[in-house]
Symmetry: C2
Subunit: 211 residues, 2 copies
């Protein structure tokens, strides 16, 4: 999956190209940034996604600007990135971040009416496994109001940085604290809907996600 356009030019030692590494990063998140060219301008929009096999699924209202553009089959660039830690070196110059990021190139394709429900489940499963089975499925009217776009991954690359800062040899003698300040992302305690019926327990999918 390594091609000219997605080849990492800077810091090639941070580049990872095997499918498994890339899918692992993609599956650990659900927020992506989608870039398109719209009226000759670059436009980037954040949206939720799901991955299945070598496809990314995004969805939106049938009338959404992003969706109606992408369904035309235009090129998209999708970026997913997570900062895992601040890398605090002894010199300003060697400060960095530990992170995982994936950049994908592909083209949008409208998911057919027949496949729409299944594709929406892919997105739902990515965000919270098991939630789909707990809730009322979309009605025909709701499905009509929603479009799902499939982007087959044509080109992809991943970049990962881990570990300690790397300082200049002489700087290790400075009396400056150095190390990594982890950035942690996790679910907090679920908050009941203020209109929740009495005696309804937090659902299984949520319990599992926070356990």
């Amino acid at each position: 999956m390594k091609t000219t356009r997605s080849k990492i030019k800077r810091a090639p030692k941070r580049a990872q190209y095997d499918k498994e590494s890339i899918y692992k990063i993609l599956d650990s998140d659900f927020l992506c940034h989608v870039g398109i060219i719209h009226n000759d301008h670059p436009v980037v929009i954040p949206t939720l996604y799901g991955r299945k096999d070598d496809c990314i699924y995004i969805h939106g209202a049938s009338v959404s600007r992003l969706i109606t553009e992408i369904e035309k089959g235009i090129e998209v660039c999708i970026s997913i990135a997570n900062v895992k830690g601040l890398v605090l070196a002894r010199s300003a110059f060697h400060h960095s971040a530990n992170y995982e990021s994936v950049v994908i190139f592909g083209k949008g394709e409208l998911v057919s009416e027949e496949e729409k429900n299944k594709a929406l489940k892919v997105i739902s499963d990515q965000i919270l496994v098991g939630r789909w089975e707990e809730v009322r499925e979309p009605s025909d009217k709701e499905l009509k109001a929603t479009k799902v776009i499939k982007i087959q991954i044509e080109e992809v690359s991943a970049k990962v940085r881990t570990g300690d800062p790397v300082d200049d040899t002489e700087d290790y003698e400075l009396d400056i604290w150095a190390g990594v300040l982890p950035v942690e992302k996790k679910f907090g305690n679920p908050v009941n809907d203020s209109k929740l019926k009495r005696n309804i327990e937090v659902s299984h999918s949520v319990k599992k996600a926070i356990s």
Copy 2:
């Protein structure tokens, strides 16, 4: 700062345009996604940023592809987005996310040699206030190896969703748990560099960030 291109078409009630709201969102993060048009393709790249007044600063190696493109003065679109919670409704259709997002349009401009150090401090301060003062400042050689790009915010919009799910009236009767599952991002415990000199305490900037 509201213009045609950045006007929110979907869910306009989620749109916020006043400077203060927008700056507050921008200042609560340090990772952005920068979109450009490169050889007629959309390209999105994640990078760290700092904001000062109505400018976004990003930096990179002087030879970096993104930087050398943007310094030409081409148009960029910068997106910053954070999911604050999963909004778990009783129907699949009404699932949503609580989030804060900002989309910026502007053009890149290379920061002059004279202003470079100050601009780098803006980025450093955004990521970890006080760190800049604790570490060795960039040497002339290091400054030469770094470019900083200033993007003056020409157009900007913010979108924010908060609160409970909004279900269809009849769905409130379903025996399904609904509510918000918060997504929390915070610093973990600092990890000493494995080559840290003995008897060096965690620095003030880090202590302050985790307190």
